[in-house]
């Protein structure tokens, strides 16, 4: 669950000994760098946990914090400060990488709220029939046949323009479906950000399903690209 910022137990700054909130990167009193706080990505940027984000602000904040935290600023500091700068900057970069990307951000925030999101990097089950979204069953079946044919043709060093054309058309279609998913996801953001408890939980459920569908489509498009690409 999301860490509530203000309830963290205060700890003393290593340098000036003044107690401060646990999730801070710098001591508010003496400005010295602090060991990595167990903070979530939103509180690294002092942001409210929302799905709708001002990316310009986020970038500005990222640059501002980088200037203060980056290991380049600690090349001649004590070995402890060096280590903290490295860990803090890694946290900052991980947070920025996650939050600036709409899909990663959505997955992250939903996971913080206890949502189970499919193993995105298990690598397996790409063509696992049980995972195929019901409305795509037929098309995916056709597409996989064509992909097999294409790979076989390529192995023989043959070109099949018809096959290529129909694969390109399929790719276009799936690209379009991906765009639809992204649009639907965004529509849910507002419900999640501003809705009441029940609207929020409905949005969460919808987004988990959309993310699953998206992952599946993404893998399909990647397969098609790989098969088409190496021409």
């Amino acid at each position: 669950m999301l860490k509530v910022l203000d309830s963290a137990i205060p700890i003393a700054c290593w340098s000036c000994a003044v107690a401060h909130n646990e999730s801070t990167l710098f001591c508010p009193h003496c400005s010295k760098i602090q060991p990595p706080p167990g903070a979530d990505y939103y509180s690294v940027f002092s942001l409210e946990p929302r799905l709708t984000l001002d990316l310009g602000m986020l970038e500005h904040q990222f640059h501002k914090l980088s200037r203060k935290l980056h290991p380049d600023r600690f090349a001649r500091a004590t070995s402890e400060e060096k280590e903290w700068s490295l860990a803090d900057t890694a946290l900052l970069n991980d947070a920025y990488r996650t939050l600036r990307d709409p899909i990663r951000r959505t997955e992250y925030l939903l996971k913080l709220h206890g949502a189970e999101i499919g193993e995105e990097h298990s690598g397996k089950g790409r063509t696992d029939p049980s995972r195929v979204p019901a409305d795509l069953l037929e098309e995916v079946f056709d597409l996989n046949m064509q992909l097999e044919e294409m790979r076989a043709a390529k192995k023989m060093g043959e070109e099949d323009p018809d096959l290529k054309q129909s694969l390109t058309a399929a790719k276009k279609k799936f690209d379009g479906l991906l765009d639809d998913v992204d649009r639907d996801l965004r529509a849910q953001w507002t419900a999640w950000d501003d809705g009441d408890e029940s609207a929020r939980s409905a949005a969460q459920k919808a987004m988990v399903a959309l993310l699953d569908r998206r992952r599946y489509l993404d893998n399909l498009v990647r397969d098609v690209n790989e098969t088409l690409g190496a021409n």
Partner: protein, 646 residues
């Protein structure tokens, strides 16, 4: 800690350079021979009579012996850095190096150089040590900290090998900087520009493309791509192959078996390549061992056709980098050209094409010497790290990792944990458990690369997590943290969370040199350095002795000599005789003391000559002529300060 200077080093495939920040601008530090470039060539001198370790020479002098004794010389060692035995074997098809015959799989390969064997980091350490010395000579003080550049597309092992080399050379490597990013820093210094730039870096052995966003002094790399096996060397090899083939088929002479001849031909190929950047044709004209002449005209069109496949291989990475940055060629505001191979007109046309430059009325940036720009950028980064300069205090470089980091999951597939082009430092945390009751070890296979299957990625390391408290299978929860630091080097740490005490798990990497190995190599090269250093001091002391003796001889004919008392004259004579007697010997202290004695004995003489010179000047001689009469160095302060002696 001593807060000495931090220098910037470009450890190149073909040439290496060292630079520093002189006030507000970076400048390259020349070597003794006055040249900014130190060829990345290392030669092993013949073993001295009576045994002992032979000395190692670096740079131009090493290059000169390449043709006579190729078996004692190594170049382009950068191509071997951080490579496994199999990868090195592939490289050796094109290079006349021999692997040491006792290398075993899994070990860092060693190269046979004359009678001795060296790992690639050791060879690189010799180059670095030469650069370090050049800088020390230039500053007159020790240099112990450096920023070293590496190709952006270098993987973890190649980076680690470079860092090891620095340590062996007695340098604390404060940061490894990617070469294209360094070039961007050098260009970004004098222009408070904002915008998106692409750096196309085509060097001797590697190709890199980086796309950066500049804003308020922050250089944020958006994406990078490249090929660590693509460079001017490949072009040389094409020309070389043609010449070798034709010589064989037309003249019946097979030069392939003669490494010295191949090296000679290789040099001709490089000369031809270079002249084809400005001329419309080049010529091979070579006398063969059988007396025949091999003459061959290479028109530029033929050359361009020949190298087209090599150049074309740079296009794919450029397109991928644009895609990864999420931009089109039109969104690139500036293109910077780096590396000697970008002098080739066909390369410039390709770049123009890739980024739609002339169509938009733009030209690539070539204002800074493409051979030097990386070293200059390294000096800028060194200045940033030193942290005491107004010029660079607003600058910050945010670089990325070039390759995705993954771990091998069930079924040999790769689970990606840090995607490529993530800003570094970057981290990821994964959880592992055991499969058998009481299991105390878990192996993790870490890979770098973009492919789905572990077998298609580069195996980076196998880490063994040891010391897991014995528990029922599946119960331990081992948290493994992967951290890529600002040098692009991976660190792995692990903790078992369920055993209550969160025991630290030992993480043991199984690749590259161990710390202990690096340590012994440092000592080896230090022993060696001592020896070399002593030799250098001896030569310098002899030169000083020689010069002071010459001056004493000249002074005997000056009017001031006659002013000296008899005992003063004989004291000088005695001191000079003693110096003359010891100067040919090997006793450094004796030479220095005798030199110092002559110096002391001639103090009054020097003063008298000084007075005489002044008097002469007053009598109407020009000061310059008086100075010439005087000899430059007999005046106080004497050129040898005793403080320099041990």
């Amino acid at each position: 800690m001593a807060e000495g200077r931090v220098v910037g080093i470009d450890l190149g495939t073909t040439n290496s350079l060292v630079a520093y920040m002189q006030g507000e601008a970076p400048v390259v530090i020349p070597g003794v021979d006055g040249s900014n470039l130190v060829p990345s060539v290392v030669a092993l001198d013949p073993i001295p009579e009576g045994g002992g370790r032979p000395t190692v020479t670096v740079g131009n002098s090493a290059r000169r012996v390449l043709i006579e004794t190729p078996e004692r010389v190594i170049y382009s060692v950068k191509r071997l850095m951080g490579r496994s035995l199999d990868e090195v074997r592939d490289e050796l098809k094109f290079f006349p190096f021999r692997l040491a015959d006792d290398v075993e799989a899994g070990e860092v390969p060693r190269v046979q150089l004359g009678e001795l064997r060296f790992t690639p980091p050791e060879i690189s350490a010799y180059i670095l040590r030469q650069l370090k010395r050049n800088a020390e000579r230039f500053f007159g003080e020790p240099v112990t900290q450096a920023v070293i550049t590496v190709p952006a597309y270098f993987n973890d092992a190649q980076r680690q090998a470079t860092k090891d080399a620095g340590r062996m050379a007695g340098l604390e490597v404060l940061r490894l900087v990617n070469e294209p990013t360094a070039a961007a820093l050098a260009y970004g210094l004098d222009r408070a520009k904002e915008g998106t730039i692409a750096v196309y870096d085509f060097g001797g052995g590697t190709f890199d493309i980086s796309i950066l966003k500049l804003r308020d002094g922050i250089f944020e790399v958006q994406s990078t791509n490249g090929d660590t096996h693509l460079g001017g060397d490949d072009i040389d090899n094409l020309l070389l192959a043609i010449a070798l083939d034709e010589i064989h088929s037309e003249h019946g002479v097979d030069l392939r078996t003669k490494p010295g001849a191949v090296q000679g031909l290789r040099k001709d190929a490089i000369d031809a390549k270079i002249s084809l950047s400005s001329e419309s044709s080049a010529k091979f004209d070579i006398e063969l061992p059988n007396g025949d002449r091999y003459q061959r005209e290479i028109p530029r069109e033929v050359f361009e056709q020949l190298i087209q496949p090599v150049l074309a291989r740079t296009a794919g990475p450029c397109k991928q980098a644009l895609t990864d940055a999420g931009i089109t060629p039109e969104q690139i505001d500036e293109v910077v050209l780096v590396g000697g191979s970008t002098r080739i007109p066909a390369v410039r046309r390709l770049v123009d094409d890739l980024f739609h430059l002339s169509a938009r009325g733009k030209k690539p940036h070539t204002e800074l010497n493409p051979d030097e720009v990386v070293a200059l950028g390294a000096a800028v980064q060194a200045d940033i790290l030193a942290g005491a300069s107004k010029t660079t205090e607003e600058m910050l470089l945010l670089d990325v990792t070039p390759l995705s980091l993954g771990i091998e999951a069930l079924g040999g597939v790769v689970a990606r944990i840090i995607p490529r082009n993530s800003t570094i430092p970057a981290s990821a945390t994964e959880h592992f458990t055991t499969g058998v009751d009481g299991q105390t070890n878990v192996a993790i296979h870490v890979l770098q690369g973009e492919r789905e299957l572990a077998a298609d990625c580069r195996s980076l390391a196998r880490f063994d997590l040891k010391g897991i408290p014995p528990m029922t299978a599946g119960l331990p929860r081992i948290e493994v943290k992967f951290l890529i630091d600002a040098d692009g080097i991976l660190h792995v740490s692990a903790r078992e969370q369920r055993s209550g005490k969160a025991a630290e798990i030992e993480v043991k990497a199984t690749y590259g040199l161990t710390d202990e190995q690096v340590e012994t190599m440092i000592l080896d090269s230090f022993d060696h350095a001592e020896e070399d250093f002593a030799k250098r001091l001896l030569i310098e002391a002899r030169n000083e002795a020689e010069s002071i003796l010459t001056k004493v001889e000249q002074a005997r004919t000056s009017p001031a000599w006659g002013v000296l008392r008899g005992e003063e004259q004989s004291a000088i004579g005695a001191a000079a005789d003693r110096l003359a007697a010891v100067k040919a010997g090997d006793d450094l202290t004796a030479i220095r003391e005798a030199t110092l004695a002559v110096d002391r004995a001639t103090h009054r003489l020097a003063e008298l000559m000084m007075d005489a010179a002044v008097t002469t000047a007053i009598r109407g001689k020009t000061m310059t002529a008086a100075g010439e009469d005087l000899g430059e160095e007999v005046t106080a302060p004497h050129p040898m300060a005793p403080a320099e002696f041990k």
